[in-house]
Symmetry: none
Subunit: 225 residues, 4 copies
DNA sequence: TATGAATGAGTGTTCATTCAT
DNA sequence: CATGAATGAACACTCATTCAT
């Protein structure tokens, strides 16, 4: 997996100490923790095992994070930061909603290939059982995409390149539903399997084609007739 | 919650004994188990607690199900059976793809209101950590919708009421992505919250409007220009 | 140590299961727990060790008691019950306050010799750190002696065999202070040592003499001049 | 709480370095440690927490004291020193045993109000679990009062103001039992509660009356008829 | 068949102490 | 001399599963 850099935005779930250890340790802890959480899910993952596999003492682990919860949230928060950066880039570089849709799909794909585990973690977080954890992050959750999509759609309507048949925010919601599950389809076994059932085992590897299909579906949904 | 009836299709994860107990016991066990699994997730749920809350002995529990896993799968399998029935009804009664889309949304909504917990369980199952469980069900997973949607779309193209811009199976996939997250949006806290962010807190209660919006989004995506 | 019988008065800190195991197990658990708590104090005692030494699984331990706290309180509560019985016997059989004082001293001595560990536990409980535990027992704490002593003193004053120089409840308090530390002096190392310093190493074994001295001290304090 | 001054008599449980730091640090460490030990008891108190709350590093802590035990003993030793000073003052200024008894009670009360925590610590130390610690202090324990009381009583007998009914050392022992628990009654919750049960909630605040009662109890016990 | 007591490996977390800087 | 990161055994407690009754 690509190197994970520890980012702190507004939220911070690790202790200061974690910023002070060596880069190697930090890397190893995050990497091992991501693997473990992604593989077994939050509840079935043992923080003692993570420590062991990262080659550090459990005491050290607890000097970096106040709790298992905080370790998990540190990782998720990091993942959000990563995704945010990508989304901001997409936003800046997109001419219009159609351009944006294309770039979003590419971004989703690249993120999924680079960090498949992070997507699995994210799926876990959306689970009802982890709602109490999600709450601690809620300020950051899903803020960017809705606004971005809505803004582009609104602009498109004004420019006359997007129809105004459906409520603009519903359009955004539909598009994002497609994106979100597409992203899961590239990283989580269940949704991978589901994708296969829809488009056939052999076509799964040709993601570019799939994306083209999705783009033209969305384009058709938005275009003025 | 509406009464759950124990159905056995091809798959069966309970022991014979479970079919032989009284209806009351069976009901109570399933009901309590669904509540517990939905609230805490598979891993954080204790089968001992379920037995206690259902008023039966843990020994009885293990005479009905070989393991915690099997209890969980029994429930999920049942839920699939329920969903299948609904889908088959939709399939039978729909004139064309547009009719089908509308009916699917209603069906999703009704299912989510009647069995919100089952949806939460299903979300759990799609999680990477539960992939080993999902595998045991794979023969049943997600078989109906893809075929149904594809068939209606194909028919629509032949009738000239659906464009052939995008690959038909991709169309089906996009539509189902929208459905699936819509269903989660009605039953799982995380996705409820996400929906609010898209369409605003005040509009969440007016689901009919939302569904109309979704329908017209999909209609636009499919229609011939 | 003399056999401990599980008594339940109003208060009960064990689970039903504990009443259902074999007498042997019950005995062994209580015996081992008393030894451990007495030796190391509440906080430094490991409930896992107790289970190990009692030859039962830790799971069984927790099926008998909801927590370490409850195990401790079960023992203390039992000890109170024992002490209460003795005190009631003293009360019933005493002619007057002077008789009562003598019997109390004997009773204290016998209790201390029979159950030295219980006295050590009790001392622990009076510690500030265990105040939260003591609170859970407060309804039972120290209720009998004050009333008994006061009643006998009052009767003595009326009969003209006790002076009324000091407040009667203060008299009772002073007498009980003497009793209480006498009891500790017979069971807890610290207070044993202290007693030695007062009356000399050689005289410690002749408790009867000591008791005579205490009796005549108290008698002098109460008698009418 | 009144300032604690670090005293070294014969015994010393801290390292030289502790004498060399600033007065402020020394104060803060002792103050925080006393609070913590008094509140939670020796075993449940974390030396890391003490360091943190005192604003010093755990490393510094261990440069001042070789172990948690030594920190505790330093405090206890200090407390003894304090108590010794008071006792010596009482001894010097008392005319006879009756005078001494009165002064002792006042001294106990004043000490309890000024250093309630130290009394709680002392109670902890008398616990069986801390016997190994108490042993390290044994040379200092309880040496003064027995001798002082015995001497005054002996003098009283010679002067003819004290009866010789009971063994003089037993008299001293009884008197000190009363003192000791009186002191606990003013500082430790358990014994506070016990006092209330004896003399009633409303009278607890009027300690002067209580002390008068105790004095006249002891006076009656000693006086020649 | 139903019961529920029993098991014991495993959980998240704490803390006295060490030692490189 | 002071710092505080690091250690890891130990803790209270949980829970899927077994099995004698």
């Amino acid at each position: 997996m690509t190197e994970i850099i520890l980012r702190s935005n507004q939220l911070k779930f690790h202790k200061e100490t974690f910023e002070k250890t060596t880069e190697d340790r930090r890397q190893k802890v995050l990497e091992v923790a991501i693997d473990a959480f992604a593989l077994n899910g939050y509840n079935a993952t043992s923080i003692n095992d993570i420590a062991k596999n990262a080659g550090i003492s459990i005491g050290a682990m607890y000097s970096y994070f106040a709790s298992k919860e905080d370790l998990f949230l540190t990782i998720i928060n990091n993942a959000y930061f990563l995704m945010e950066e990508i989304l901001n880039e997409v936003k800046e570089s997109s001419r219009d909603i159609y351009d944006c849709v294309e770039r979003m799909l590419s971004a989703s794909r690249e993120f999924s290939f680079q960090y498949p585990k992070l997507n699995q973690l994210y799926l876990d977080l959306t689970t009802q059982a982890l709602a109490p954890l999600a709450v601690r992050l809620s300020s950051k959750l899903e803020r960017i995409t809705p606004r971005m999509l809505c803004d582009f759609i609104k602009a498109g309507v004004e420019e006359g390149i997007v129809n105004d048949k459906a409520d603009k925010s519903v359009m955004a919601y539909c598009i994002d539903n497609i994106f979100m599950l597409y992203q899961f389809s590239l990283s989580s076994d269940y949704y991978k399997e589901r994708l296969k059932i829809f488009i056939g085992e052999e076509k799964v590897s040709e993601v570019k084609d799939l994306e083209k299909g999705i783009v033209s579906f969305i384009r058709a949904a938005l275009e003025v007739k």
